[in-house]
Symmetry: C3
């Protein structure tokens, strides 16, 4: 078969149990910090030097690194959250991530590469209208720092080409 | 960081494997009983003395215990199902829970505290229209009774403030 | 309790860890091949002699084997993909599966029976409109062939009675 870019999961026997569990915990905890509105926690799930970007699938597939957003280190993630807090005194929406079980794809340069499909449901407050805000996948590089798993890189690849231009919330 | 109420997962090494698996199984089986329409099974996933409530996130966050619904023991759960059966001879909707991997947050008074994000898709029968019926999270207290995991308490925290007033289906 | 067709999960202690992990990996990888558009990979997740069918829940519950689609072997799955490729030079939609943790229900004739709830979000390209395309469950028979897990049978049971008649994409 020609190279279509598909990456199957690693044989689970190649991933030690404690690492598999640590990876799974990191991914759900990171989403819980966003959904719970405890956004100041969110940068803690990244390494000091890190990459966080949100990019449309069509751009990602063309190999274009032009995303909706790119942050190059943990401090930028914190800046982003502070900007969001000052812009949105009263939060008009809440978010809910629902995640598939993560796929551990490989190891590279000391990190585990992990892909996780997500859907984010946005609920308007107080009216309660719900909509699919984003669907797509995370492509992560996860390292262990003194036993604590952290994101060295997270690429959020959105299935949709368009995204709310006023987006300030991390996905 | 100030206390923002965020609760990270327990270190997975602190949760014995059989307990982790038993918890995961309970949560998906309980949802399957609802989605499969085998609602008489649903109370079996609770302890005899139990709490089941559905509450809007905005109320929960304010510490108000006023929910859409509260049941105080397993018998009340059964009553609820019987009332639903008699009111809805022909079920006009079916439900589908899709759940994130559960987060085991801690242990308290002999129970594991577990949080699980969910989305429920409701499909109208026979037309087939689908909608997001509810998104939110379960906050559970799970105990082992003679090796069988059961919900001592389930709080369904809905992201939306409003919910179908004719709601009779458990979430 | 009368036989309502409900099937609880096997006690997790009855399922060896490597098998549980292999099953989980198969299910998420199979969805990833579809969502990634690498559809030629999809038949690889089935055994040579296999059954793949998509059937509405209302038909399935009545015991009627009349589905939207039935394939009886792996070659038919490949035919289906080729037909899809020739009919849709420019793919106007992308798909995203989000899956609950799988439920391992039992063993039968050398296979594990596994049920997984899913929701598929369809995104129109390039406009970006997102909708719930299908919600339902997989009912799978999974075997190990020389250590590799494969689907001997997959029944996709859609909650909705109606489905896009031009459906060519596997679910």
């Amino acid at each position: 078969m020609s190279d279509d870019g598909f990456r199957p999961s690693l044989d689970p026997r190649e991933v030690p149990e404690p690492i598999r569990l640590a990876i799974g915990t990191l991914i759900v905890d990171c989403a819980a910090a966003i959904d719970g509105g405890q956004l100041e926690r969110w940068p803690d799930y990244f390494t000091e030097a890190c990459v966080y970007r949100i990019i449309a699938r069509s751009e990602f597939d063309k190999g274009r690194p032009i995303g909706f957003l790119t942050c190059d280190n943990r401090a930028m993630l914190g800046d982003r959250i502070r900007a969001m807090r000052s812009a949105n005194v009263f939060q008009p929406h809440v978010y809910r991530h629902v995640l598939s079980p993560p796929r551990i794809l490989g190891q590279r340069a000391g990190a585990f590469e992990v892909e996780t499909s997500y859907v984010v449901i946005r609920t308007a407050i107080p009216e309660g209208a719900m909509m699919v805000f984003s669907a797509g996948r995370y492509l992560d590089e996860i390292v262990l720092e003194a036993g604590t798993p952290r994101l060295r890189s997270r690429t959020v690849i959105t299935d949709s080409d368009s995204i709310d231009m006023l987006l300030v919330m991390p996905i």
